[in-house]
């Protein structure tokens, strides 16, 4: 799966989980860019992403994500 496809799927997750159709995330997006994206909703986003891609992130991986792009890299490495 290409990075752009992963990002498109993640955009749908972010909109659904944060209940805001206006949200558009890019590889450089962080929680600081989106008002609804706080520490609790971050876990919602992580769990929804895990379910969609049928993967698991460990706590160290979650803590190290600096932006959406790093999350995409990790997803890509896990799904091959």
């Amino acid at each position: 799966m290409e990075k752009t496809e992963i990002l498109a799927s993640m955009n749908k997750i972010w909109r659904d989980e944060l209940d805001n159709e206006a949200i558009t995330i890019t590889e450089s997006s962080t929680a600081n860019d989106i008002e609804e994206w706080d520490s609790l909703s971050n876990i919602q986003l992580v769990v929804a992403t895990e379910k969609l891609f049928k993967i698991r992130f460990n706590s160290a991986e979650i803590a190290q994500f600096k932006n959406v792009g790093e999350m995409i890299d990790c997803i890509k490495a896990k799904i091959g």
Binding site: D38, S39, L40, S41, I43, Q44, V46, V47, E50, R56, N58, S59, I62
Partner: protein
């Protein structure tokens, strides 16, 4: 082993919530209000059974995630469990795909370590290290 200690519920108005619980339980079952700095919340424990409490949680900051939950209309917040082997229990829960949110020292428990974890079905759990 997890021992239920409290059910955390959100209180928009702490005084009002305390008065409401005093109407069900005795006034002596209500603790003092304790400020937890790392979480930016005030909490108050209502003893409902021997060693089992309702924890009333009121945000003290507009930026608090707890404040956002209240604005969304949530009233239930988390279940709190005491654990003897704090680090080991976190490890065990992580193996069951619980996500560690934070570890902090809580003024509500004599500055003992506490941790918030989110379950795979998005239920929030607090672990409290026993003395």
């Amino acid at each position: 082993m997890l021992q239920l200690h409290h059910i955390g519920v959100l209180a928009k108005d702490m005084e009002e919530a305390i008065e409401s619980y005093k109407g069900i339980f005795s006034a002596s079952s209500v603790s003092e209000i304790i400020y937890i700095s790392s979480q930016e919340v005030n909490v108050c424990f209502v003893k409902i059974q021997s060693e089992i409490f309702i924890e009333l949680v009121q945000p003290t900051s507009e930026a608090s995630p707890v404040q956002k939950l209240i604005k969304k209309g949530f009233t239930y917040y988390h279940n709190g469990y005491t654990v003897q082997h704090f680090d080991r229990e976190i490890e065990l829960l992580e193996k069951k795909n619980y996500k560690l949110l934070s570890v902090f020292n809580s003024e509500a428990f004599n500055n003992r370590r506490c941790a918030f974890l989110m379950s795979p079905v998005m239920h929030l759990v607090e672990l409290i290290e026993t003395a």
